[in-house]
Structures are given as structure tokens and as C-alpha cells.
């Protein structure tokens, strides 16, 4: 991804809007008694479109804003989302995305990892109460939500940052001209 000031501004708006939408909408709706967590999926998509650096930096920034708005200890969410963004970016740099299933699957897998990561950060500071096995069920359902929402987020983001995508520019340049009347 070629980061121009215009693209950077778009990414910042996407990050802020994503966090606000998560807190005011997704966290307050329930399907099968679980609220979707779209932020790991958003960071995964940014990592897949922009590479390791975009993924890690956006993970840090989104986590930082989330912690600020929830008045939590700063850095916890950032730490997890940096790892998620970096992993998605690494995937993008090492492998080609051949199938349409790759993005949703990656979103689901990394959301699962992120939720476990949030738990690990919390465990680092001590969990005094019992942890139910149902946590695992909730995390699995959240991963399923990420699978379905991931593709939509990816398509939307791709459209938003299209001018900055290197492969997209190459495709546009190499497209065959249309011959009128042929």
C-alpha cells in the first residue's frame, strides 16, 4: 500500500469509526447471547491490504483508542492487536490470496487468537474468579461472526484504499482495452 496523506487520513477515519461502531453498536447487540467483536477483523483486513507495518501500526492505534475510550489500562488491547495486524501482514507478504475464503478464514482464526490474547493479558494481571468453559464457546461464536463480517470489511476497505493498492494499480494498467464494435 502506498501511504499518501489522503490514504492515511482515510485509514484514521476508518479506525476511529470502527472503534466507535464497536462500542456503540456491535458490543450492544447479541446473537446467540454473544456480541460480535469486529476490531480484530478490521485490523486483519488492514494488515492484509497494507502489509506488516500497516497491520501492526493500525493494531496499536485501534487498541490504544479502545483502551482510552473504555478507561482501561493502556496498551493491553494494543499488544494483542499489534500481533494480529502483524500476522495478517506477514500472511499477505508471504502468500497469495487465491481463494475468496482466505480472508474470512483468516479473520475468524485471528479473531479467535485475539480473544485468547485478551484473556492472556487479563490473566497476566490475575483473574480471581472461576473461568467457565463457556468462554470458549463465546470465542468460537465471535470467530464465526468475524468469518461472516470479515469479507464485508475487506471489500469495503479495499474499495476505500483502492488508489493506494499496488496490485490493484498493476491490474488496472494491464487491463486489455475494449474494442468498440468487435
Amino acid at each position: 500500500m502506498i501511504l499518501t496523506p489522503k490514504i492515511l487520513a482515510r485509514l484514521i477515519v476508518v479506525g476511529i469509526f470502527g472503534v466507535l461502531l464497536q462500542l456503540t453498536f456491535f458490543s450492544q447487540v447479541e446473537l446467540f447471547h454473544v456480541s460480535p467483536d469486529v476490531l480484530p477483523a478490521l485490523v486483519v483486513c488492514l494488515g492484509l491490504l497494507g502489509g506488516t507495518m500497516t497491520g501492526a501500526v493500525s493494531g496499536f492505534a485501534i487498541g490504544f483508542l479502545l483502551d482510552c475510550l473504555l478507561i482501561q489500562p493502556l496498551g493491553g488491547a494494543s499488544l494483542v492487536l499489534i500481533a494480529v495486524g502483524y500476522a495478517a501482514g506477514m500472511f499477505r507478504e508471504r502468500f497469495e490470496i487465491h481463494s475468496r475464503l482466505v480472508v474470512p478464514l483468516l479473520c475468524a482464526l485471528l479473531t479467535f487468537a485475539a480473544e485468547l490474547g485478551f484473556g492472556a493479558v487479563e490473566a497476566m494481571f490475575g483473574i480471581d474468579t472461576d473461568v467457565s468453559i463457556l468462554v470458549l464457546r463465546d470465542i468460537l461464536i465471535q470467530s464465526a461472526f468475524a468469518f461472516f463480517l470479515g469479507w464485508a470489511i475487506y471489500v469495503g476497505l479495499r474499495r476505500l484504499v483502492r488508489p493506494a493498492l499496488v496490485d490493484e494499480a498493476t491490474v488496472r494498467r494491464t487491463r486489455r482495452p475494449t474494442v468498440l464494435g468487435a
Partner: protein
């Protein structure tokens, strides 16, 4: 050139990780810092507007979820209604008695709000997204008289307490959060205990007894006891409804000195809440 790029990338990653750990170390255990107060001051109005704008969409999705949930609950509810009717008759008698006692003792007739507390009404404007934390953000803060440690209730019962405050917003840690401990008593049995949550089951709290000479039964009410100890950071005012006993087998009670409690408040669907400001803490 490529190696230089890789080195730069790794340096940025290391910087971000070290930065995150440094922030965690510096801010852990603090209520709120200047940066968070600034950020929440900027984004609280936006969150409030978004929250109101998205309410119809949220309600629609929650309605779908509740419709699925409601199927099969009908029979159970009819049974509960039968029991509730009987209790209502008893309740009316108790209310009349209560009114007389209050007048005799010269107490306030306010009822739900404990003496000396001033309720401040707020709206939930944000919820933590992960299954590990149970925090909500509300749109009232120190500017409205809210202080750290204030109890928070809604029409159904106790919700939690304020754990961080900024000028126009506060963080409420729910009773389903793993850090929550509430001193309670079971009425009418009079058994004292503490209620703790189970991570992953927001509709199940665990009541551990402190005095277990009496057996308690399913359906009995659990209210706040109003006392504190070293383990309990904040004291809740007495007699706020917390929940009802859902599982109370005699064998489990005697062996583990624990029973399950279902909170009255629907902790995943909170809208308007009341912070009880003032009072003794």
C-alpha cells in the same frame, strides 16, 4: 535495500511492543489519566449521538435474538407467573407494613434509593467488546457528581459500581466482571455471603456463604448486605436487589457452601442506569 527495510520493520514492531508494555506498566491500576480524560471528552458526544442513532438497528437485532430465545420459555413463564401472583398478594401486605415501619422510624419514603444517596441517571454509550471484561461506559461523569466507587443500579437491581470517572463519562464495572465482589444476604433466610461472577457466564453469579447454618432454597432473593471487609473494596448500600437463587441443592450447599444466583438485571442489555451518588462509602 531489502535487508534495510526488514530491519526498519522489525525496529518499528519492537518499538510498538515495548511501547505497549510501557503503557501497561505505567497505567495499570490507575482509574483514569489525563490522556484518557481528554480522549473521552472528545469522543463522548460522538458516542452519544451514534448510540442514539444506532438504537433502532440494535433493537432490531436484539429482537431477533430474543425471539429465538423466547420460544420454549412460555411454559416456564406461566409457572413463574402463578408463583408471582401469590407473592404479589404477600408483597402488598408487606408493603403496607413497611410503610408503617418507615413512618414509625422516621425514614424517607423513597423506597428503592437508599437514604442519603442521590440518583444520577445516565445512558450506556459503550460496552467492552471482549468476553473477558464486563465494563460499560455511561454518559455521566464527575461533572454530574459521580465519584469512583459509586454504586450503579437500574430498574431491575444492582448492576455494578463506578471504577473510573472523567468529566462527562464514567466506567462502570459490572457485577459480572471477574474483579467484582459484592457482600450480600439472602432474604428471608438471613444467610450472609459474597457474590462473585464466573467469567463466560454473565447470567450466573456464585454465592459463597459466610454463615451456613441455614439452608436456602431456589427462588429466594439476594440483596446487598451493606458491609465491607478487606477483600471488598467498595461498600454497596444495603437492600438493593441483586438476584435470585437458581440452584440450591442441599448436598452442594453443605459440601461446597455455594449456590448459584441469577442477577435480576440483564447485564448484556443495559440502557438507562442510575448512579447512586453521595452516601457513605
Amino acid at each position: 535495500m531489502y535487508r534495510k527495510q526488514v530491519r526498519r520493520r522489525r525496529a518499528v514492531l519492537a518499538l510498538l511492543i515495548v511501547g505497549s508494555f510501557a503503557l501497561l506498566t505505567l497505567t495499570y491500576g490507575q482509574g483514569s489519566n489525563g490522556l484518557q480524560r481528554g480522549v473521552t471528552a472528545v469522543f463522548t458526544p460522538v458516542s452519544t449521538v451514534l448510540d442514539r442513532a444506532l438504537k433502532p438497528a440494535r433493537d432490531l437485532i436484539n429482537w431477533v435474538d430474543e425471539t429465538f430465545d423466547a420460544r420454549g420459555k412460555n411454559d416456564k413463564l406461566e409457572e413463574e407467573l402463578e408463583v408471582a401472583r401469590k407473592q404479589a398478594v404477600g408483597g402488598k401486605v408487606a408493603l403496607a407494613e413497611n410503610r408503617e415501619y418507615r413512618e414509625l422510624l422516621g425514614l424517607s419514603k423513597s423506597g428503592a434509593i437508599p437514604e442519603g444517596y442521590e440518583p444520577v441517571t445516565g445512558r450506556v454509550i459503550g460496552l467492552s467488546p471482549t468476553v473477558w471484561y464486563s465494563d460499560v461506559m455511561i454518559d455521566v461523569g464527575s461533572g454530574d457528581g459521580v465519584k469512583q466507587g459509586d454504586p450503579v443500579i437500574n430498574g431491575q437491581g444492582l448492576i455494578g459500581r463506578v471504577t473510573a470517572v472523567t468529566g462527562g463519562a464514567s466506567k462502570v464495572t459490572l457485577i459480572s466482571d471477574h474483579s467484582s465482589v459484592v457482600s450480600v444476604k439472602v432474604v428471608p433466610a438471613g444467610v450472609l455471603g459474597i457474590v462473585k461472577p464466573t467469567v463466560g457466564e454473565p447470567n450466573t453469579l456464585v454465592l459463597s456463604f459466610l454463615n451456613s447454618d441455614k439452608n436456602i432454597h431456589k427462588g429466594q432473593m439476594v440483596v446487598t448486605a451493606g458491609w465491607s471487609s478487606e477483600e471488598l473494596e467498595s461498600r454497596f448500600p444495603p437492600n438493593i436487589p441483586v438476584g435470585e437463587i437458581t440452584k440450591a441443592s442441599v448436598i452442594v450447599q453443605e459440601a461446597q457452601e455455594k449456590v448459584n444466583v441469577r442477577p435480576y438485571a440483564d447485564l448484556r442489555n443495559l440502557g438507562t442506569v442510575q448512579v447512586l451518588t453521595g452516601g457513605s462509602r
